[in-house]
């Protein structure tokens, strides 16, 4: 009577593990996974590493590992918020990038960077908070622009998303041109998280992403109930308005976490929940965790590609995601017409 539950998690975790290892292994210097595992084992058991492996240790712990973890958190956040937005709007094309939330978060982040706001206020990192405010404002604006009564037609959602997203991008460019602050930091950020290095961004992103993702994971059943529409959801006992506000809050927080530290990366939030839904069904109690795991895998995969396609140059991971994601988006747009599996 219930779908197979263990297999999807097994497959997703195995995939994630494989991509994680590969992501640590691949780069200007290839370090074999076996060497990596040996170094990990030696470090964990506090045994000395052979001297000719010392450079590997530095590369692993100072460069590859933080970047890999950052990409994994970012991918997980984008896919998690993507499935939350899709469930919230009951629309297969809702994605933090397409509905403009990512651009809104980007505008908030650039605002903080280009105006030389202090890095922290009362212990809170300012950039992610500004990104969060930008994301929340955008989602509220897009939602109120696109809504017709209780319905949210796909075309309206996309049009409102495009308009608000363009506006936010234009504002971002304007701010960059007139920037009095550290322009290089902002530009580097716009190209994607690639250039950020070290553990600082990881540690800064982690709390926001964790809070957002854990909250979204707890909303699986609520998201399921939302799928039958507001009226029936209410009759089934869900406090719809309250739940909707919480989902917007946490999905926006999660998006903001991703955007603040990795720039604007599209389509992860669109592609991943779709593939998971097609493979393993629409139950959000399973869709959400599986999307989060697979989102990490997808962005790591794209990041590996970004590093190996034109060595020694590294492409921004956002470009790779758009190259993969845009055709996928068109395909979904065609499929969505008959609402076959949504």
């Amino acid at each position: 009577m219930k779908r197979h539950t263990v297999l999807p998690y097994g497959i997703s975790f195995a995939l994630l593990l494989g991509v994680l290892l590969l992501s640590i292994a691949v780069g200007s210097v290839f370090i074999s996974p076996l060497t990596i595992l040996t170094i990990f084992r030696l470090q964990l058991t506090r045994q000395p590493v052979p001297p000719d492996w010392q450079p590997f240790v530095t590369i692993l712990f100072a460069l590859r590992l933080p970047r890999t973890v950052l990409m994994a958190i970012t991918g997980a956040s984008l896919a998690g918020s993507g499935s939350a937005y899709q469930g919230l709007f009951r629309n297969p094309l809702a994605d933090p990038y397409l509905i403009g939330v990512a651009s809104g978060a980007g505008l908030g982040a650039i605002l903080a960077m280009s105006l030389n706001w202090p890095a922290t206020v009362m212990g809170l990192a300012v950039v992610p908070v500004a990104a969060f405010v930008g994301a929340m404002l955008t989602v509220v604006i897009v939602y109120s622009l696109a809504r017709v009564g209780h319905a949210l037609p796909t075309t309206n959602l996309l049009l409102a998303g495009v308009a608000v997203s363009s506006f936010a991008s234009a504002m971002t460019s304007f701010l960059l041109i007139n920037s009095t602050g550290d322009l290089r930091r902002a530009l580097v950020w716009l190209l994607g998280g690639a250039a950020l290095s070290g553990w600082a961004p990881v540690l800064a992103e982690l709390p926001y992403a964790t809070v957002g993702l854990v909250a979204l994971l707890a909303m699986g059943h609520a998201l399921n109930v939302m799928q039958v529409g507001d009226e029936q959801a209410q009759q089934l006992g869900l406090p719809v308005e309250k739940v909707r506000r919480w989902i917007i809050l946490f999905a926006s927080l999660t998006t903001a976490a991703a955007v603040s530290f990795a720039g604007i990366i599209g389509f992860v939030g669109l592609v991943v929940p779709h593939v998971v839904r097609m493979l393993w069904g629409a139950d959000y109690k399973r869709l959400m965790p599986l999307s989060i795991i697979c989102g990490a895998s997808l962005l790591l995969g794209a990041d590996i590609l970004a590093r190996v396609i034109m060595p020694p140059q590294e492409l921004p991971v956002g470009i790779i995601m758009s190259l993969v994601g845009a055709p996928f988006f068109l395909w979904i747009l065609r499929r969505a017409r008959n609402q076959n599996y949504w």
Partner: protein, 263 residues
């Protein structure tokens, strides 16, 4: 008829959409363990009545009581435990399985994490069985017929374990066989489980056969409330439906049969 405290009591309920009055001073009550039918032409506010009773739209005036509790004072969760709605099958999420859809009926019983206990699962299985929908549990909603979806919606309402069931034209999508089997299932639920049912129906003969009492809605107001024998008379119905009618009384069930007396 034995006088008990009514399960559902509707007092002077009026509902307005924008500037348009949809229901005007409706009052009636439904005794526990009975089937209460609501009939009336299209656009007389039958679906609005279901919405008003389930607390999903604001009332302009009046009150709805379930037992001794007033509906608008209850939280959505409390309401869902006392009253379950079987809506018309439309726009259901096609990728859900039958089981997943029926499980939504447990919403008001789950904790905030939405954890499903063995009791919830047992309850869903029983509801599927009572609605004759067990075979639909693993099927995708998008692959099911309107009638099959309707049975799952009945199961979902039963999974709520509410004493009061509101059905909004549950037989619209069904063929004759499934109309009868659905209503037989509802009747046996009333007899065996002791549910109280309010059912909106278009088919006068079905309502005549299954309802203990009937309310006739016409042009925003309640025209009559009574037993099938009292309400289903040619004079009243011709006034409501603007159509010459013939009523047959010599039937096995003792309930009247209504035929359009067309030329």
């Amino acid at each position: 008829m034995q006088v008990e405290n009514p399960m559902l009591r509707v007092e002077n309920v009026s509902v307005q959409y924008g500037l348009r009055l949809i229901l005007d001073q409706i009052s009636f009550s439904v005794q526990p363990g009975t089937i209460f039918g609501v009939i009336g032409p299209n656009g007389t506010g039958k679906t609005t009545l279901v919405r008003a009773l389930s607390g999903t739209i604001p009332l302009l005036s009046g009150q709805v009581w379930i037992g001794d509790e007033e509906v608008t004072r209850l939280s959505p969760q409390q309401r869902a435990r006392r009253l379950a709605v079987v809506p018309q099958a439309r726009n259901l999420p096609p990728a859900f399985t039958g089981y997943e859809l029926v499980l939504l009926g447990r919403t008001s019983h789950l904790n905030w994490l939405g954890q499903v206990s063995a009791k919830d699962e047992a309850c869903v299985r029983l509801a599927l069985q009572r609605a004759q929908a067990t075979s639909l549990a693993d099927r995708r909603i998008g692959d099911l017929s309107g009638g099959e979806q309707q049975r799952l919606l009945l199961a979902r309402a039963l999974a709520q374990e509410a004493p009061l069931l509101l059905l909004d034209e549950p037989t619209t999508h069904l063929d004759l066989q499934h109309q009868i089997s659905t209503l037989e299932a509802v009747r046996s639920l009333v007899k065996e489980v002791g549910l109280t049912v309010l059912i909106v129906l278009h088919d006068l003969n079905l309502v005549s056969r299954y309802a203990d009492r009937i309310a006739v809605l016409s042009d925003k107001t309640l025209l009559a409330v009574g037993t099938p024998e009292e309400v289903l008379n040619a004079e009243l119905l011709e006034e409501v439906y603007h159509l010459p009618l013939q009523i047959l009384h010599q039937t096995a069930s003792g309930r009247p049969i209504i035929l359009p007396a067309v030329l």
